[in-house]
């Protein structure tokens, strides 16, 4: 697997089970870093929700509130809110599952990360194929999508999302069983460029 992917000067790295670290203009943006936060340089931390392997309050206590955005602490955001972090505009978006109490509308978001170089990365967070996501008409260059099917997209649903969103590149995250990756990859391949980071 490649250890990083650089697109238009944004370097993307995986961070644990579902997280990412983005490097742009010398600034590190970490999304859902889980426990790895303690061992990782992050100038800003974005938490989609507070759940094992995403973000934990204990780990975040050393992060100043102006460098943390999440639905419940630091700079608090809800779907539709936009926050400027360094050169980057972060927009929170709906992410939820009707079948999972942890992934409720109130405490769970996804992120659009808008870079000034005309690049938009969409981190879906833990969500199902919800109406807000399907009806969104934004152009997405890089899609980072959860695929394990446990309170998030199944591989097949994630492939449906790819077909609606039409990203140039898709990076699947949030899976343990490689069969989920293969299933998602094989269905999605014609509609996007898969990169397994």
């Amino acid at each position: 697997m490649p250890r990083s992917l650089n697109i238009l000067g944004v370097k993307i790295e995986r961070l644990g089970f579902t997280g990412l670290r983005l490097l742009y203009n010398g600034v590190y943006y970490c999304i859902d870093p889980g426990d790895l936060l303690e061992r990782t340089i992050c100038h800003y931390v974005l938490c989609s929700h507070f759940h094992v392997r995403h973000c934990s309050k204990d780990v975040l206590r050393n992060i100043s509130s102006d460098r943390l955005i999440s639905p419940i602490m630091g700079i608090i955001i809800k779907p539709g809110d936009i926050v400027k972090l360094g050169d980057v505009l972060v927009e929170a978006t709906s992410a939820y599952s009707r079948w999972s109490s942890i992934h409720s509308r109130d405490s769970n978001v996804g992120f659009y990360i808008n870079f000034p170089i005309n690049l938009r990365l969409y981190y879906t967070g833990d969500t199902e194929l919800v109406e807000e996501l399907v009806n969104n008409s934004r152009i997405v260059d890089v899609l980072v999508i959860s695929i394990s099917g446990e309170g998030v997209f199944t591989p097949e649903e994630a492939a449906e999302a790819v077909k609606s969103i039409k990203p140039s590149i898709t990076i699947p995250v949030h899976y343990e069983d490689l069969l989920d990756y293969y299933k998602f990859r094989d269905i999605s391949q014609p509609y996007t460029q898969i990169v397994r980071l």
Binding site: M1, P2, R3, S4, L5, N6, I7, L8, I139, D141, K166, S168, I169, L178, Y182, R185, D186, S188, Q189, P190, Y191, Q193, I194, V195, R196
Partner: protein, 632 residues
Amino acid sequence: MWASSVLEKLYSKDLVIPPALKWKTVSIEEYLRVYRESISDIYSFWEREARELVWIKPWSIIVTGDPPKTRWFINGSLNAYYNIISKHRDNWVWSKIALIWEGEEGDAKAITYRELDVLVNRVASALRAYGVKPGDWILLYTPPLIESLVVMLASVKIGAPFEPIFTGFGYWELAKRIVKRSSKIIFTVDSYYRRGKIVNTLETVRKATEYSGFKGKVVVIERIGPPSLKSSEIAFSDFTRESSVLVEDYVAESTHPLFGLHSGYIDDYKPITHPTGGFLVQVYSTSKWIGLRPRDTYFCTVWPGWITGVSYVVFGPLMIGSTVILYDGGPDYPSWDRWWSIIEDYAVTLLLTTSGALRVLSRQGDNYVLKHNLDTLRAILVTAEPLEADVWWWTYRIIGTGRTPLITSIPRELTGRIPVVNMYIQSEIGTFITGNLVNYTFPPIIPGSTGPPIPGFHIDIVDSNGKSVVENIGELVLREPWPSMLIEYPEEYVEKWRYGYYRTGDYAYSTREGYIYVLGRLDGVIKSSGYRISPGSIEKALKDLLGVEVAVLKCRDSVRFESIIVIAICVESPNCSEIKQATRTLLGPIVEPIIVATAPLKIIFELRNRRNIVLEECSLNAINKLLSENLN
């Protein structure tokens, strides 16, 4: 004859219909009908194909002149860059990924067609500002990087022909190409990783520019850097920094030079140049036919620097709108599963590689492949040299079976599923000319063969009197010219047309049904690991630089197909091992002889006149036997 023993290893009576192509496979009779119709009037056939491109001014005459001076699409002109890249501007391809590059250390880069166009314009603008004009040659000596392809496309955009030089060649070969092309600009890279070590490319370029007396500019792509540069060198980022002027695409006459290579002949590598119109027609059609589609993610392991890498990395897939995977390093580092990881991680759908690579990979054990899921692969294309039937079967079963059931087949115990297609190409011809075509004529595959001729190429096999032979070994020839007829060529190429047809220099055998087995060079030129190597070039280099007279022979190598043997007068200095090392340093690692043996001068001169010798094994015993026969 050695060609017969090659045929024995290739020959198979199996007819294979891969389950994935069950509904696309045609009978041999159906194939023959299409093929015969195409060669009954190849001019009309290729004229129809030429209409697939966008021409600024259509041709008034399809073809003029007798070969080798045949020219196609006379008075026609076209915007080559539009036909490769800009035509995608108004459709969905524009925002899809054009190129992905993965370095050996694991960092990857991706670029969309839109961004590729921006970068190409920037480099084209810089080239113009530097004074490069249409017709000026641009040289590249780099591994396959995104920037390398950008430079090649920028050259096309401004009408400047380019020549990519394989980094497996050493400074002496590079210096010769610099002199022959009279280029005022060379693109290279500071260094790159190969098998965990740093290859210092810039140092080789510096030696070559010094040796050749080059007075132009060296542009250094920063790969590992930052390099410390001399006054005649400039970093790629600085070269392109101020260049933002929108560059108008060059509109080329059909016969304007597009790119060139140095092709291996007996006594040296000689420059050849392909024309813009005919080449683009030929490469676009064959790219469609071999199975490339816009939705494909395509991985070609052959580097630009060889014809397959130029035609089917730089041009064909980008004209189609596919995504192309580039990589640097080798297939064996950090482990023998590097290529299978790439296929798995980037959902590769088409793989193009060489017989030599598959031969080596098949010996590493199946687990390197089987631990990866390669289900996205639709076809495996193979080229460069003969592919033995047993290696074909290994590829088909181990790489090509897959795991997910298809509508018509459930994979069993490595029974094979997707097509493994062996194809023939030559630098002078420009594209594949034989092979089962996934998107056109696909009769059953015969393992070990290079398939039947591709429509539009009038192929035959002839004996030494020029008479067609079937089920007998002869020389592979083309009876009619092809659209990408060379516009610059050496005397040897003219000689190959002497009898009114083109002699490829390869032994071949044809079945009654038209399947062709290519068996290797009959003229002393060496095919080693798929590389076409000039024996004379090695002899000249060692004479000029070490003052040593040598004869270069070839031996049958079970891995590389053929290997190089140097017969020299090994004295105290230089001794045989010094000659071996010098060959590697001067000419490059791909030219390193497997054995250097000693012999008297008289024998060396005699051996040079017997170029068709191929030792059946690469061993000192075989050499000694040959030498004793000559001594007696």
